[in-house]
Symmetry: C2
């Protein structure tokens, strides 16, 4: 099959719900913006050996690719609509691989009501590399930012923290003593993040700041701190852990560091004025998603992790750095 056959057979069907995609046959896609909405646009790369492992299933890679980008839109309070996809395949790519990959994208299209609008497909002598551009919309002036946190805001996080980093440890064979069900849970959290889109939309009215946790809790809290010129004081004991993460920690208490610094959780970290506490509790209940109060915004800068007796815990680690 040549490049155009592959696009026609496997990618064009992913664009069929939007005439502006022009069947992926033209030089660009045409998008007609909705009046009184702004567009939130993000572009994330995932590459073999860095963001996923050699031999990972095409479907898992497709889902991770879509979801890490949608997670960025969730953190802005945006509703996803469109995406553009660049696939850089190794020269040894098989049609079966592409078939499975595109079938998973079709499922993501349905799940998140998004449409493929364009992109590029090429091959090279190198690892699998994907770049996705995701486009969403937010009512004018309602966008969530990293830069709005205010001293005395409460700091919240959705879901549980550290699962994805522990899942990677499981895949690397470094948590052999952990029960099979816990291993499976952590691996699945690593492979298939859940973008907190409905939460992001719900936060538009209440949050002073928001970010998705892709680089690790501490590092991403640091991004809010530097963006908002505040200090983020996080209570270590309040950080919500899954039963699987608790079990792993029981086996090896030194994993605590990994939990606060490991990336790829794709939960939302956000700050809320204290008077909105009831609204946030109601939002969490309505979404059936734990929203945990883990600390307080203070005057100052940086991130402090506090022990149960409010002593600062030394932080030696930041998050993942691609240039390290």
């Amino acid at each position: 099959m040549n490049e155009f056959d592959i696009i026609a057979k496997y990618f064009a069907p992913l664009s069929k719900h939007n005439p502006g995609a022009l069947g992926l046959k033209d030089d660009a896609a045409i998008i007609t913006p909705h009046p009184f909405y702004q567009m939130a646009i993000t572009k994330d790369v995932i590459t073999e050996n860095v963001h996923f492992l050699p031999g990972d299933k095409p479907a898992d890679i497709a889902r991770k690719l879509v979801r890490v980008n949608l997670s960025d839109l969730a953190a802005m309070g945006a509703t996803p609509l469109y995406y553009f996809l660049a696939c850089i395949f190794p020269r040894t790519i098989s049609e079966a691989w592409i078939k499975e990959f595109s079938a998973a994208l079709a499922t993501e299209n349905k799940e998140f009501q998004i449409t493929l609008m364009g992109g590029d497909t090429t091959t090279q002598d190198g690892p699998f590399t994907f770049s996705l551009t995701a486009i969403g919309e937010v009512p004018e002036g309602m966008v969530l930012r990293r830069s709005g946190a205010k001293a005395s805001d409460n700091i919240y996080v959705s879901g549980t923290i550290g699962d994805a980093a522990l899942g990677l440890k499981v895949l690397e064979g470094k948590l052999p003593g952990l029960a099979k069900e816990h291993q499976d849970y952590l691996v699945q959290r690593y492979h298939i993040p859940t973008p907190r889109l409905t939460l992001g939309k719900g936060l538009r009215l209440y949050a002073h700041s928001a970010i998705d946790i892709s680089d690790g809790l501490i590092q991403d809290a640091g991004h809010i701190a530097s963006g908002s010129l505040v200090k983020m004081a996080i209570n270590d004991a309040s950080i919500p852990l899954s039963p699987a993460a608790k079990a792993a920690l029981k086996l090896d208490p030194s994993l605590r560091k990994l939990i606060v610094s490991g990336g790829d959780d794709y939960e939302l970290l956000f700050t809320i004025p204290k008077k909105r506490t009831t609204a946030i509790e109601a939002l969490g209940n309505s979404l059936n998603l734990p929203l945990t109060h883990i600390g307080t915004v203070k005057r100052g800068k940086g991130v402090t992790l506090l022990s149960a007796d409010e002593e600062p815990i030394e932080l030696e680690v930041a998050g993942y750095d691609h240039f390290r």
Copy 2:
């Protein structure tokens, strides 16, 4: 330097003219669309060994990356505004390389009045790979398409054809007999395409169809043919050649095939109703850009290349296929 330092030092300055880029510090960029405009969005990848050569200058790569994408917007009649950039560097990347690359992007920003709005930067064990998403705008309903060509339209092409493919031959040392000035001209055409943006805008009112020539004249004519359900009849002798291409052809007449099939020219190929001939001539004159009438749209399908005595010339070659 870590990833965040590199973004802050070299990429964030490229975003400074648009507050919606949020200093490249947030999860996504915010774009506020202009009322009564549609957005044209394209995403092209360029990768070492395929679209540029190992050791090519960072500045040349930056310019090619920007311009191949802007060429797609030109073919839609769009005015470029924003871009998102994913850089996948080899692990051996140096800061000097990134400095030179970003300096060239700054020049492109000025030249085309565009702003970097976001993206991603990572490293891998593999070749240099870049993905750029370019966003432009077109007044509602004015977009140029591949699919509007009508039988009896005249077929035009801008500039000269085949220079980039010949430039690559020069770089491969395969045109040693050619005069130095001609070699330099062809190489420069290969390295630094000129997106025909002003032409694209001018064509909004007149053209029935348009495409940019990235895959080769014959193959891209084929895209108009299949998109518009017509036949593209092109007169071989009318195809405009630069003095350098003519000189190369004199040395080796077999290069004729390369000229009609080689990619990377990034000229516009478009079809115009006959009654617009005067308007198109005036447009070419006002832009000081040769617009050459190279054939006629007919009923039927596919592309026919005609000799001076109107006999079809056998075409053995198509354009570049990444999966071949």
